[in-house]
């Protein structure tokens, strides 16, 4: 494998110059041609430009504009650790676990802990946004199908049946492959496809709830009071079906995170250098034997997160269920 030095990692090294002059000088001295050195000098003289390129690099920074991670994480997620010397030579010493990098570094010398922290933003927000999208669609479809019945019901539910027949992971793979050329970040594509391909379960749940609520007398009472369909749906039926939806949505977040991880592992998910738990695992798979921590810790994070969301979902179910309250 040829030595690969991603250019931006070098820019990071330049930024380090202000903080630690000596090691960076060593790095620069060892690796750069004259032309690169010129570029670096130019960048060095223009700190703003440097910061901008960093912001572009950190997709999550641009999207979420979160402030927590830069303060919390020991290192920038895509920044090479100075001790790893940017090398990808793959001899054991390159993957470090030290006090500075408690979860080790990856092939580019980047701190795995920092990348996991940044990756958590991607994985969690992707999971939550995809679930919100699918819940919104599912609730609308379920309300319509359950309340109006007949043709509306038949059309929406047959559509749901058809969509359920697709294996969703393959659907996503195909969509990502087909629409890859579009000028939108792949992560948006994934969120949209995940949302569009997972509303059917919620729709069925909501539909069955609506069908039972619809027969309750207070709905007839609301109709007898002269309220219109929309008002009855949104004000009288929706609040009564929300409980199982909230529980179900919470349980689904874990599944979404898993699908994202699976996609990223197939290198069809969130694209490097943006970190997501899935693609950190993907990047670590080549060095699994020598540097198990690269894949292991993000994997552990996924497991813990999915379990947590499931436990929250179960907890919510118990909290909302009046029958279990006394038990």
């Amino acid at each position: 494998m040829t030595q690969y030095r991603p250019p931006l990692a070098r820019l990071q090294a330049v930024r380090l110059r202000d903080e630690r002059v000596a090691p960076v000088t060593a790095v620069l001295a060892g690796h750069h041609s004259d032309r690169e050195a010129d570029i670096l000098r130019l960048l060095r003289s223009n700190a703003v430009l440097l910061r901008d390129s960093r912001a572009d690099l950190l997709f999550v920074d641009a999207v979420v504009e979160g402030q927590g991670c830069p303060d919390l994480s020991p290192r920038a997620s895509t920044r090479g650790g100075c001790r790893s010397r940017n090398s990808a030579d793959r001899h054991p010493g390159d993957y470090l676990v030290t006090r500075t990098f408690p979860l080790g570094t990856d092939a580019y010398g980047r701190d795995v802990l920092s990348r996991m922290m940044y990756g958590s933003r991607v994985s969690l927000s992707l999971g939550i946004i995809a679930v919100l999208l699918s819940v919104t669609l599912g609730v609308m479809a379920g309300l319509g199908a359950g309340y109006f019945g007949r043709a509306t019901d038949a059309i929406l539910m047959r559509l749901a049946d058809v969509l359920l027949a697709f294996p969703s992971l393959f659907l996503i793979l195909i969509v990502v492959a087909v629409f890859e050329k579009l000028p939108i970040p792949r992560i948006f594509l994934i969120v949209i496809v995940l949302g569009l391909s997972s509303w059917m379960g919620i729709a069925r749940l909501v539909r069955s709830e609506v069908q039972s609520i619809r027969e309750r007398e207070f709905i007839t009472a609301a109709q007898a009071a002269g309220l219109g369909h929309l008002r009855i749906l949104l004000r009288h039926i929706l609040p009564n079906v929300l409980t199982p939806v909230i529980v179900n949505a919470t349980l689904r977040i874990g599944g979404m995170i898993l699908i994202e991880a699976a996609l990223s592992y197939l290198n069809l998910g969130v694209q490097a250098p943006t970190a997501s738990w899935g693609n950190i695992i993907y990047e670590g798979k080549d060095a699994l034997v020598r540097a198990w921590w690269i894949s292991a810790f993000p994997g552990l994070a996924i497991v813990l997160t999915v379990v947590s969301f499931n436990l929250i979902g179960d907890g919510l179910r118990d909290a909302f269920d009046p029958m279990l309250k006394d038990a």
Binding site: F218, A221, Q223, A225, G226, P239
Partner: protein, 337 residues
């Protein structure tokens, strides 16, 4: 009879004629209401009486046009202020529901939305029909709660349905149905789900509000005692048809349909305790199997071939007294009491 003249003299606010509603079932078309005709006059209370499943509630829901699939209204007309409610556009019908004609339901427990406080549910009626501001709607709702005898209005407004007793919930429902001071209130067995002591209070309340606001009441019940107590006139229903309508005194003194007679005979009397009550033999036929002629023929001691061949029309036999029976003269002879 002076009382009867009074009843007929009042103007009709609701004229139901030949109203028919059916339900499509797997076994075929089940008629729930067949050619029901009656008149509700201004300021009167009309009792719609019959046993479970005879079509009382379906009649009420048909008037409000709240019949849902698999049910459908197949014919007839419901005239209200010179317009046929059955052919009004849905938009206008919504303006009538709750505003001009309102309903009180049987189950106060399930007729209130469990997830909203009482106040917002009453206010909703004002906000929807009267375009009021929230503040005014709130004030009017509190006033209406006072009217129905709930004095601690602030607490009731904030309470959720499960925090109130059955009687209080029924009062709330009555307050909701009267919110817009409707011309007609349809009370569908308003006291069935309530215990007897509270039942008397609720009935007294309905009577008081009726005289306060001067609306007409269609009281649906299977309880002859309530009907005798509350109503000016009574319409008897049996197996989807109205078999007898009469002023309340006439119905109890000179019932003229065998079914009415049978019902009245099966009330335990304190004058003859410990005696076996006479029964009406047989069972109500299932709706998909209604016989061709009189629906009561199979259980009637007077039934003849004529009864089984053709359905008797509702004919007037005295002032305000109509009966659907070929043999009403014989029945009238065996008068009750």
């Amino acid at each position: 009879m002076e009382a009867q003249d009074q009843h007929t003299a009042r103007t009709a606010v609701l004229e139901v004629s030949k109203l028919s509603t059916v339900f499509d079932t797997r076994e075929g078309v089940a008629p729930a209401v067949q050619e029901a005709s009656f008149v509700l006059r201004a300021g009167e209370t009309l009792g719609l009486v019959g046993e479970s499943g005879c079509g009382k509630t379906v009649t009420a829901l048909s008037i409000m046009r709240l019949i849902r699939a698999p049910g459908r209204i197949t014919g007839g007309s419901v005239m209200f202020e010179g317009r046929d409610l059955l052919s009004l556009p849905e938009r206008e019908m919504r303006h009538i529901r709750g505003n001009r004609i309102s309903m009180i339901f049987q189950e106060p427990t399930t007729s209130l939305n469990p997830v909203f406080p009482i106040g917002s549910q009453i206010m909703e009626v004002y906000l929807h029909h009267k375009n009021m501001h929230r503040r005014e709607a709130r004030q009017r709702s509190a006033d209406m709660l006072l009217h129905v005898g709930l004095t601690d209005t602030e607490r009731v407004m904030r309470a959720y349905p499960h925090q109130l007793s059955g009687g209080m919930r029924q009062r709330v429902l009555i307050a909701m149905s009267l919110a817009c001071i409707p011309d007609i209130v349809i009370a569908d067995e308003p006291t069935t789900a309530i215990d007897v002591t509270v039942q008397a209070q609720i009935l007294a309340l309905i009577r008081k509000l009726k005289s306060d606001f001067g609306m007409a009441v269609l009281l649906i019940s299977h309880d002859l005692a309530i009907v005798a107590d509350m109503c000016d006139r009574v319409a008897m229903m049996y197996a989807s048809r109205i078999v007898e309508t009469a002023p309340v005194e006439a119905l109890f003194r000179i019932p003229s349909h065998p079914y009415t007679v049978g019902l009245l005979h099966s009330i335990p009397s304190r004058h003859a305790p410990h005696t076996r009550l006479p029964l009406i033999p047989g069972q109500v036929p299932r709706p998909v199997e209604y016989p061709a002629g009189c629906h009561f023929a199979g259980r009637c001691a007077l039934a003849t071939d004529a009864c089984r061949a053709a359905e008797p029309p509702l004919e007037s036999i005295a002032d305000g007294h109509e009966v659907a029976c070929w043999h009403w003269e014989k029945v009238r002879g065996k008068s009750y009491i």
